[in-house]
Symmetry: C2
Amino acid sequence: MEQLLRVQNFNVSRDGFGAGEGQSLERPFGHAEPAKMFAWAGATASWPGRTEPGGSRGLDDYFTRDFGHNIGAEIMGRNKFGPQRGPWRDHDWRGWWGDEPPFHTPVFVMTHHERPSFTLSDTTFHFVAGEPAAVLARAREAAGGKDVRLGGGAGVIREFLDADLVDTLHVAVSPVDLGSGARLWESPAELLDRFHLEVVPSPGGEVTHHLFWRR
Amino acid sequence: MEQLLRVQNFNVSRDGFGAGEGQSLERPFGHAEPAKMFAWAGATASWPGRTEPGGSRGLDDYFTRDFGHNIGAEIMGRNKFGPQRGPWRDHDWRGWWGDEPPFHTPVFVMTHHERPSFTLSDTTFHFVAGEPAAVLARAREAAGGKDVRLGGGAGVIREFLDADLVDTLHVAVSPVDLGSGARLWESPAELLDRFHLEVVPSPGGEVTHHLFWRR
C-alpha cells in the first residue's frame, strides 16, 4: 500500500491565510477568529472536539470523520503546537489540546530546538529538526504502513509543497478576509500545474471545500 | 458509542430504481447497466474492486473510502446475494464477489429459507429470517460496537425505512431512467419528514449524491 501525505480539514481565509498575525496563548490563530473559521466542522457529528450528542451527518461530516481514518502519524509545525518561539523554556506547555489530544498517533513537531518526547494518552509528541523529506521518512516509519497527516500551519504545508511531498489536500476556504498572517497561497490556482482540483461548496454554506490530488 | 444503521453508496436511477427487472446470473441488475450506474465509484482510488493503481481522490473518493470505515457488519437482501429464488438448491453459489468479498465482516442475508453459514476470506455469510428489528439486533451484536451497513437492495432498504431503523443514507442518483424494477422511492422528498437531506452533485458530473440523516 502506498503511504500518502495528506492535508486534511485545513482552513484558510478567502485571501489565503491559515492564521492571522499575533499568535498568543489567548489567541492561537492571532487576529483570526477560530470560531468563525471552524464553525462548519464544529457543527458535524464527527468533530473530534464534540462533547454533546447530535451534529450533522451530511457532506461536512465526511470530512471530519475522515480525520483519523487510515492515519498513522502527524507532522506539524511548531506554531501549531504552541505560541512559544526560540529555545523551550517552558516544558510544562504540552500543546493546546489538554490531556486527550485528538491525534491518537505519534506527532512530529518540526523545530530547531531540542526537547524530549512525551506522551499524553495515546498521542506521543516528538520534536524533530531536519528537511521535510527526512521528517516525512521518520513519520512514515512511525505510521506503520498508514498515511501521514500534514497538520499545518500554512508555512509547514508550503515547505512540503515546495519539496513536492504532498499527495492530497483538503482545504476549507472560509468567507472571511484576514489581510495578513500565515499565507498558504495567493490563489488555489497556483497548485493546478501539479494537482487536480475539485471545488465543492458546503451545503451548509459556511465554507468551500477544495480537494486536490496529484496529477 | 451509538451504533448507526447506514446505507452507503447505494445507486438508484433518476426515476428511483435500485435495479432493473429480470435479474439473472448474467445480469445482476436486470435490465439496468451497472457499468453506467457505478462509473462514478469505479473511477475513484478507493473503489474496493480497483486492481490498478490510480483513480481520483476528490469528492467521490470520500464516499468510496468511507465504505468500510467503522462498519462491523452488513445486512443485505437475498437478491443482492444472488439470483436464486425459493429454497437453496445450489449451495455452490457463494455470492457475486468471488473468493475475496469486499465486506470483511459478518454479512446477514435475509431469507426465509435456511442455509448454513460459510466463510470466504474474512467475510462470513449468515442466512437469517425474521423482522428487520430482530435481524438488526443480531447484526449489531456481531458488529462489536461498530456501525452496521444496510447493503440493499431497494426492497430491503424500504423494509428498514418502514420500520424506522435507518440512521443515515447515502444514495447516488444516476442520470438514467429505468422505467421499472426494484423501487427505492418515487422521490427523495418522501423521506424529508424524518431526515435532513443534502444534495451534492458529483464534480465529475456522473451522479448526484443524496445525504440523509435523522432529524
